[in-house]
């Protein structure tokens, strides 16, 4: 299990293909915060997002912020459960060129094939570790769709964002799939012992 540093947005697909499920990754550059309502607006209501998502790293978040003048400052920024938003994976990659989605708890198996076909990664963050995550957000550079607060479209500049674990890679491997398969086998053994 290798360790990598990747800067987003990426332009070279090789940056994605070198990552393997289980690897540790630290992210630099810019990441985009997104949540349920943001994606419902894009895909169910058909509103074009006012930010470029090509090569982007999306974070499942609803940040706690405070407004100082006309800028937002981070108070407490953490990450939410991803599974609720799995249905947006394919269109995010196919229509907008998103390359990475980061959240907690993983995606179910239906994300594996679109991520393989479109060269995308699912990154597992440590859920709930918001005190640490907040220190890695250098600046909130842009906020769109403020009326959806806190489920706006956020642009964060980050430094040493992580540690992240590659949960699903672009080669069809998913740690979540493997852990569930092993756990179901184990359950059979445990039931037999009861």
């Amino acid at each position: 299990m290798a360790t990598h540093e990747v800067t987003f947005p990426i332009t070279d697909e090789a940056e994605i293909l070198k990552l393997r499920a289980g690897d540790e990754v630290t992210v630099q550059g810019h990441i985009i915060g997104i949540r349920d309502r943001t994606q419902i607006r894009i895909f169910d209501e058909g509103v074009e997002p006012p930010m470029d998502l090509r090569g982007a790293f999306l974070l499942h978040t609803a940040p706690g912020v405070r407004k100082v003048g006309d800028k937002y400052e981070p108070v407490c920024i953490g990450t939410t459960t991803s599974a609720r938003m799995v249905r947006f994976t394919e269109p995010l990659g196919a229509q907008y060129g998103v390359r990475a989605i980061c959240g907690k708890g993983g995606f179910p198996d239906e994300a594996i094939e679109p991520m393989r076909a479109l060269g995308m990664i699912y990154f597992a963050i440590v859920g709930g570790a918001a005190a640490l995550e907040t220190t890695q957000i250098e600046e909130i550079e842009e906020v769109a769709w403020e009326e959806l607060m806190p489920e706006c479209l956020w642009k964060f500049r980050v430094r040493d964002f992580g540690p992240l674990t590659v949960g699903i890679d672009a080669h069809g491997n998913s740690l979540y799939h493997d852990v569930q398969a092993a756990a179901h086998e184990k359950l059979k053994e445990l039931y037999a012992r009861l």
């Binding site: 953490g78 852990v179 039931y191």
Partner: protein, 298 residues
């Protein structure tokens, strides 16, 4: 009389406001110890990475005086009210609600409360029947114990109820708990506390499961049959291999707590309520004269 009542009501409100923020920022020592122990015990590489990060996060929350986790949850309070405590529970409820609102506005904390159908925000972490309060009444006592348990949605969404039949027996209970935790995978931010409620009725079993997650980690049920089941389930759950954040590993749960009630001869209800690694709780004791003692370990 009314002056005294107002002062005590203010004391309960102040205690609630303090407890909510305190619980969110400063996790109890038993939880810190359990997380540190889990970090040392874990052998999977991603699992160890997760636990090291959690421990580091708790330290950063301390040094930056920030929240441990961004999800301020729904405020749940458990109250033990002495029969001679000089404030009626209706007023205690008002005070808890006012305290929750004040803490949310003053800190400020993220407000999560919405109408369950319209999804419109209903107030600063308050609304119709929010916060949620569990009550217990104690005869021959004049004090009040309040415990605040902010409950995050990631773990609350992993709640399960099964009306096992008596013929399913204890094994039916074990299987349902195991299957629920495997199904939850990484979603409730494991490793945490698995709360189990058994017996009573459907609604009461779930209530008891919530009581169970609010206990100090690793405390055991007073009934030896139930305590034995707690130990067994704790061992079995850690054999599932789900691991920290569902990435695989040795530590799937920090512990398993069970609360029980006697039930109908035809019933065997089992409820599971998950509490994430950020198992936040903070307690206070309010005396009849309005003086307050905060006790982080209760």
């Amino acid at each position: 009389m009314s002056t005294v009542a107002t002062d005590i009501q203010q004391a309960v409100e102040d205690a609630a406001a303090h407890l909510y923020v305190w619980a969110l920022k400063d996790i109890p020592q038993d939880l810190r110890d359990a997380l540190a122990e889990a970090k040392d015990r874990e052998t999977s590489i991603p699992g160890k990475r997760v636990l090291e990060t959690i421990v580091r996060n708790v330290e950063i929350a301390d040094s930056n005086s920030n929240l441990v986790c961004q999800d301020t949850g729904i405020a749940v309070y458990t109250c033990r009210v002495g029969e001679d405590f000089p404030l009626h529970p209706a007023r205690i409820y008002e005070a808890l609600k006012a305290g929750t609102e004040r803490a949310t506005l003053e800190h400020p904390l993220r407000s999560n409360a919405v109408h369950t159908l319209t999804r419109e925000n209903t107030g600063p972490n308050t609304g119709y029947r929010l916060p949620i309060v569990h009550w217990e009444f104690i005869s021959g006592w004049d004090g009040l114990d309040v415990k605040c348990v902010p409950k995050g949605s990631g773990s609350e969404n992993m709640s399960f109820l099964k009306m096992c039949v008596p013929a399913d027996g204890v094994n039916g209970i074990k299987k349902f708990v195991l299957e629920s935790i495997v199904e939850s995978g990484g979603k409730p931010c494991p490793p945490g506390i698995v709360g189990v409620g058994i017996g009573g009725s459907a609604d009461y079993a779930m209530y008891l499961a919530k009581e169970a997650i609010a206990r100090p980690i690793g405390t055991r049920n007073h009934d030896p049959h139930v305590a034995k089941l707690e130990e067994e389930l704790y061992e079995l759950l850690n054999e599932t291999g789900i691991g920290p954040m569902g990435l695989g590993g040795d530590v799937t749960v920090l512990n398993c707590h069970i609360e029980h009630a006697d039930t109908h001869m035809t019933l065997n209800p089992v409820a599971v309520n998950y509490q994430c690694w950020a198992a936040r709780r903070a307690s206070a004791h309010v005396a009849a004269d309005g003086s307050v003692d905060f006790d982080r370990e209760a």
